[in-house]
């Protein structure tokens, strides 16, 4: 048994919390505690989602449907499968840590910061829970507003440029999707994603829709060559903004491919899979090299995010070829599963990396690699965490980074050894840029006097990084609960791909 309207609660509790923080949060500490309380409550409420999920039952669970716009046949329809649950729990988990992480560093307009974070959390849960395309779109676009404000107010020196670029870039992508959705509505007379998947579209229609979706989600993921907003947004965003952006918002793009591109336009996806695979491989290799030469830590991690997200898109589109051309549904499942694990894992790893940079930034107010050096001598605890996350970032076995990438490469090999070989490059490049970063920042002689005065983690920072570390290790050592959770959904998706073949 579970609470009724659990999904609605998970969406609207943070939003209401945001309003409460704005109203009652005149005192900075009131705002902080209120926000933390809301975030923790939301996280606790999201756990029954996982425990209450019945893997044996196919399709969406925790379904809620309410007529929204009868004239358009649009509904307030919510429902989740294993993939969505994993992402929702990731969202609520990360939100708690982000709010905890902003406790000290954010001193100005605390209530607005906390409110924006909570609103963002609610909207993100909404994106993952919506089964109505119009509702999805509303959440998908609505989350730009709090993020725009977050980067613009609390960001770095070039924050205005970065946040405008972020907003306009992502808006540009998604509005093409809107045209696609309206077209699908014209075909089917409703906005239900399920109906869209059974719309019986012709090849030409599918191709147009596929590219409309591709623009939207490729920008969100972001894939090469439409990734240029991400480094700017990441560099200028406050730590919390970067963490949410990397850990969750990018996943919305991957999730969009799973919910829209693959089920609704399977044939076009198959036909143009090479485009996506090529873009993913370029992201993995080329962006990896770009990351290597960065002098700004945040930029480095931002580029590494793009490279890692390349594995998600690679896995998803390799699965198509496996399922439909090679008649290898097991391989396809492995690929999709790998892509999904990579999403979750990257959520932990990138969130942790940005939190680490935030910890350093709070002490020295610089993100440049050259300003640091030998941190291990003054901050041993911090150094330990940082090295762990760095290892996860290069995909060391035993950490979460390994699981997803390994599964995707394994699956890719079944399709084409060449793709697998190129993708496997990441193990070298990823290790190169991450370890070189660690070497220059963490190890060696103490860089300068300022570094010598840095204090080790306080309790709050310890909790944040510790929680991320627990996530990284849990998925890395024993990913089975996670894969079990997502398996039915993955299986269903692959089945759909096979059956829908024209």
């Amino acid at each position: 048994m579970h609470l009724p309207h659990l999904l609605s609660l998970l969406i609207w509790l943070p939003v209401l919390g945001a309003i409460a923080v704005l109203v009652f949060g005149r005192q900075a500490n009131t705002a902080r505690w209120l926000a933390l309380l809301t975030a923790v409550a939301t996280f606790l409420l999201s756990i029954p989602l996982w425990t209450g999920y019945v893997p044996a039952t196919p399709g969406m669970q925790f379904v809620e449907t309410l007529a929204w716009i009868p004239a358009l046949n649009a509904n307030y329809a919510l429902g989740v499968d294993g993939i969505a649950i994993a992402l929702i729990v990731l969202t609520t988990f990360t939100s708690v840590l982000v709010i905890l992480g902003a406790w000290g560093p954010i001193e100005e307009r605390v209530s607005q910061y906390m409110a924006a974070m909570l609103a963002l959390e609610g909207l993100l849960v909404g994106v993952f829970a919506a089964t109505d395309a119009l509702l999805f779109y509303v959440f998908f676009e609505g989350m730009l507003i709090p993020m725009f404000i977050l980067i613009g107010i609390w960001g770095g020196p070039r924050r205005v440029y970065a946040t405008l670029k972020f907003f306009i870039y992502t808006f540009l992508g998604s509005i093409f999707m809107l045209v696609g959705l309206i077209y699908l509505h014209m075909k089917t007379g409703q906005f239900s994603l399920d109906a869209f998947a059974h719309a019986g579209l012709g090849a030409r229609e599918q191709a147009w829709l596929f590219f409309a979706f591709l623009i939207a989600f490729a920008i969100k993921v972001p894939m090469w060559p439409v990734h240029t907003w991400l480094p700017d947004a990441h560099v200028e965003a406050p730590t919390g903004g970067s963490v949410i952006l990397a850990a969750i918002m990018l996943k919305v793009g991957g999730y969009g491919f799973v919910r829209f591109s693959l089920p609704i336009t399977p044939d076009a996806s198959q036909e143009y899979a090479w485009v996506v695979i090529a873009m993913s491989l370029i992201a993995v290799v080329y962006i990896g090299y770009v990351a290597l030469v960065q002098e700004d830590m945040k930029k480095l991690v931002a580029y590494s995010s793009i490279a890692h997200m390349g594995f998600v898109t690679l896995g998803l589109f390799v699965a198509l070829a496996l399922a439909r051309v090679n008649a290898n549904p097991d391989g396809a499942r492995l690929a999709v599963q790998g892509a999904m694990v990579q999403m979750i894992s990257h959520g932990f790893v990138s969130g942790a990396m940005f939190s680490c940079i935030g910890v350093m930034y709070d002490r020295l107010h610089t993100r440049m690699i050259e300003d640091y050096g030998g941190i291990v001598n003054v901050m041993p605890w911090f150094a330990a965490f940082m090295v762990l996350f760095a290892m996860a970032n290069c995909g060391l076995p035993g950490t979460s980074g390994f699981v997803g990438e390994f599964m995707v490469i394994l699956a890719a090999f079944q399709d084409s050894p060449l793709i697998a070989a190129v993708a496997a490059f990441t193990l070298i490049i990823g290790a190169a840029y991450t370890l070189w970063l660690v070497k220059r920042v963490v190890f060696g002689e103490v860089g300068n006097d300022k570094v010598a005065k840095m204090k080790d983690l306080d309790l709050r920072e310890w909790i944040v990084l510790g929680a991320f570390a627990a996530g990284v290790l849990a998925v890395g050592v024993y990913p089975k609960p996670l894969t079990d959770l997502m398996e039915p959904a993955v299986q269903q998706l692959v089945q759909q791909l096979v059956l829908a073949k024209m």
């Binding site: 119009l134 405008l164 809107l178 014209m186």
Partner: protein
């Protein structure tokens, strides 16, 4: 043969009441001392409220249309919807502008009377069943508007704006009248429904040329009044030059009426030729979207920026007409209502920030508003995001409905053009948000709010309505739809 039927008076009751009330207020105002001007204010609001109730209560049953005075005056669903929102936005104008006018020594009876007469004109216009009534309503509206724009007669900018408005407006009225005369010549009737029935546009019709010219003139006249490019020249100057209270009126209520007129003329009378005018409007729409959005980027004056943004919104509105069917007009009407409510917030905010001797009409005047007053910065941000069409705000759903109408009509390329310009438009709305939230204020002191508490409350409600209607917009859409299923033939 003109026959008089006493029941016709009952059909026209809201207009007759407003006329009587306006005359009474005119007389009462004569005997008031300047200090007692509030009486006029409240009486005017009451008059609008009662007229609104009369419109609502006497509304014809869904799907029917009541004609009065031999079809001169129609009372149908569209008229009801438009009148309700015209009265509502005019009421907002009154509520928002009292302090603003007082500070500028413009708090005079004329403002109220001219506005009430203009409202009467709008009500007549949206109910017109005959070319004569269209013209009558239009002139009542525009003549009052010219005078309103010139209300601040000591200001050179205002006078310049009024003259521009008058000259171009008179030209547009002339064109419209010329078009009407051609159509009369071709059909021998002034009644809109009869024109629709009689007008013969087939290839062998002897009146084909005459009708085509008449149609072009009607389209041009309507485009002038709406402010669609390339007939938009008056709009930026009028918006900037007029006192903000009047700009608010011209930008919200009178746009609703202009929509009503365009719909009556094009669909009501010339519906048989919609294959022709949808193309013309398509061109006008694309031009308006381009001109409005691109020019708005360069503006530093907020009122002028909003003027160009109006042009782009008119472009979007016209896209609804391109569909040439009831659902398209319903989307356009829905769009116009949403625009009127959003414009009311934006201009209301300009008046909220204005003080004696300070207009707050530059974008820079909004710098750091979030630090000075987070609540009203939020209200303005809602209005800007809504105008830009970002969900979950009202403006997005209005755009959605119009886009849907365009796509349903099979005009995919028009939809693409519209969204490309919507992205360009996003920039200048975001800039206002940026100025309010990301910039440091010139003056860190808390914002000095006007004393008029009613103004502050209603403005806040108006802003929140954009959010609330972004979630619960179904009923309003249903209302627009049900109003138009009748109007469409």
């Amino acid at each position: 043969m003109i026959q008089f039927n006493p029941a016709d008076l009952a059909t026209m009751l809201p207009e007759l009441f407003l006329l009587g009330a306006t005359c009474a207020i005119l007389l009462i105002d004569l005997f008031l001392k300047p200090a007692q001007r509030d009486v006029t204010h409240w009486l005017s609001l009451t008059a609008l409220l009662v007229a609104g109730v009369l419109v609502w209560r006497g509304a014809p049953e869904q799907g029917t249309s009541i004609a009065a005075f031999n079809g001169m005056f129609l009372r149908d669903g569209v008229a009801t919807v438009l009148k309700v929102f015209v009265l509502l936005t005019t009421g907002l104008v009154f509520l928002y502008s009292r302090d603003y006018l007082r500070q500028r020594k413009l708090f005079v009876g004329e403002f109220y009377l001219l506005l009430l007469f203009a409202t009467l004109g709008m009500m007549l216009l949206v109910s017109a069943g005959n070319l004569v009534t269209v013209y009558l309503g239009l002139e009542l509206l525009t003549l009052s508007s010219y005078a309103l724009v010139a209300l601040n007669r000591d200001s050179a900018v205002s006078s310049e704006a009024a003259i521009k408005y008058f000259v171009l407006g008179a030209l547009a009225s002339g064109l419209l009248l010329y078009g009407m005369s051609m159509i009369y010549g071709a059909t021998g009737t002034l009644d809109l429904a009869k024109i629709h029935a009689v007008a013969d546009f087939s290839a062998d019709s002897p009146h084909r040329m005459l009708l085509a010219f008449g149609l072009v003139f009607l389209v041009v006249g309507s485009a002038f009044k709406l402010g669609a490019a390339p007939f938009h020249m008056w709009l930026p100057d009028v918006y900037q030059g007029a006192p903000t209270a009047v700009t608010l009126f011209v930008g919200s209520a009178s746009k609703l009426a202009a929509f009503g007129m365009t719909w009556r003329l094009l669909d009501g009378a010339m519906g048989g030729m919609n294959a022709h005018w949808t193309q013309m409007l398509g061109v006008l729409a694309v031009l308006s979207l381009a001109v409005g959005n691109v020019f708005a980027i360069a503006q530093t004056n907020l009122k002028r920026m909003l003027a160009y943004s109006t042009i782009s919104h008119v472009g979007f509105l016209l896209l609804g007409f391109v569909n040439g069917s009831a659902s398209g007009y319903a989307a356009a009407m829905f769009y116009m209502i949403s625009y009127a409510l959003m414009a009311a917030v934006a201009f209301g905010m300009i008046m909220l920030l204005a003080r004696a001797g300070f207009e707050a009409e530059e974008i820079d005047d909004f710098k750091g508003l979030n630090q000075r007053n987070p609540w009203y910065a939020g209200v303005m941000a809602i209005a800007m995001f809504s105008l830009a069409g970002v969900p979950p705000l009202f403006g997005f759903f209005a755009k959605l409905m119009v886009l849907k109408a365009v796509i349903d009509a099979g005009q995919m390329w028009l939809a693409i053009v519209a969204i490309v310009f919507a992205i360009i438009g996003l920039y200048y709305y975001l800039r206002v948000v940026k100025v309010m939230y990301f910039d440091e204020p010139h003056d860190k002191a808390a914002l000095e709010l006007p004393r008029d508490r009613g103004f502050r409350w209603v403005l806040s409600l108006n802003g929140l309505a954009l959010l609330a209607l972004g979630v619960f917009w179904g009923p309003l859409l249903d209302w627009c739809n049900s109003a138009l299923m009748v109007g469409a033939r």
